[in-house]
Symmetry: C2
Subunit: 211 residues, 2 copies
DNA sequence: TAGATTGTTAATCGATTAACAATC
DNA sequence: TAGATTGTTAATCGATTAACAATC
């Protein structure tokens, strides 16, 4: 579709545009100029216009952008208007938090399964879904074809399970384990979350705050 | 100290270097060349040498880098050798997961307090610490002087609490609320975590995976 | 129409990579 | 010493910003 390889820097900014547009829409506004939006978001108007024009001319000269329709367009670009099936692997503290905390629906995902290897967890209910044994994941994937997995497991377990999941057709990973999936597999996409890294960056920045 | 304003792109990579060096050290290795490390990390050797040389010449021609001492140096740059006091605001699912899940000590933080406004949570114990009423936060901060806060609260509450915390001397935020702190306050540092944004980026990338 | 604001090209800025002399 | 590998400069590449003609 829009596939002339858009730069990752642009893609990374799209969700943030989407969020601001949601808020503006919720506030009852109907139109906004790139200059006004740039003010609100703390980026340049130039960047906003450049970013949006990677995908098409969504604005109108002399008027600006229609908030609702721009939101819809960005949603389409992000493919959140199509529902993707998602599973969560590992339902310890973090897995439970993620499963119950995130509004998957709004981002175009349907949470369809939760898995753990720990006996004690199996059968528990999280967000209305039973926790299943990791042993049953092959059958589950062959039947339901999830495309996306959230990995909330430690590094050591990650390697083995990732191998299985890639073979079972999982294409996208939200990865909380510290195992570097993207170094191991091609043709999958990975978003890594490293709280520890962010805490270290904070540590550096606090220490180097001027004054 | 190293304060000729290092670019954020470099800083962002430091924790990852640190992690790889930890692993190499744990694997019993003592030295590594930029070429070998670049291979392992999936980045160029040139970038590694450039990055490190922002802070000093840690290597030795003809030899490479000593793993342990490079790790220590990067730790110092990141300021993780000094303990910083940290509090967690909001102990719902996510706050509890963060509080019990993250190894704060290794990143130079000490978790000293947990706060919530919900009566039912107050007095509960998480990671050995009692959950305190948010009402008591002023006194607590004046007594213990935490520098860093993890915000695990919804957007609406965030505004008010952030205002308080900034006034109480909090300098760094690991921010899970979707309230844009860095737009509101100067002279604080913020790391934002938006799982939702990452899911949307995944969604885009899965959709635009070639073949 | 006149004013506003986009879409888009050109200029600038910053980050990454390549190359190689210095040196262990 | 000879070989290896850094530190560092120069070249390239990409991303951001500025400017302005097109146009609603």
């Amino acid at each position: 579709m829009y596939n002339q390889s858009i730069s990752p820097s642009v893609i990374k900014r799209l969700p943030r545009y989407y969020r601001f547009l949601e808020d503006l829409e919720a506030a009852g506004m109907t139109r906004i100029s790139s200059a006004a939006l740039s003010e609100k978001m703390g980026i340049t108007a130039s960047q906003i216009r450049q970013d949006l024009n990677c995908f098409g001319g969504f604005g109108q000269q002399g008027y600006g952008y229609n908030i609702s329709s721009l939101k819809v367009e960005i949603g389409k670009i992000l493919n959140i208007d199509k529902t993707k099936k998602l599973i969560v692997i590992g339902v310890g503290n973090l897995g439970k938090a993620i499963a119950s905390h995130i509004n998957f629906e709004d981002k175009g995902y349907e949470l369809i399964g939760l898995f753990d290897k720990k006996e004690a967890f199996i059968g528990q209910t999280v967000r209305g879904l039973p926790v299943r044994s990791i042993e049953t994941i092959d059958d589950f994937c062959r039947e339901h074809h999830p495309s996306t997995a959230v990995l909330c497991i430690p590094k050591d377990n990650a390697k083995e399970i990732a191998y299985k999941l890639v073979k079972l057709g999982i294409k996208g990973f939200l990865n909380f384990s510290h195992y570097d999936l993207s170094l191991t597999y091609d043709n999958i996409v990975v978003e890594n979350v490293h709280f520890g890294d962010q805490l270290m960056i904070l540590s550096y920045n606090i220490n180097n705050l001027e004054n």
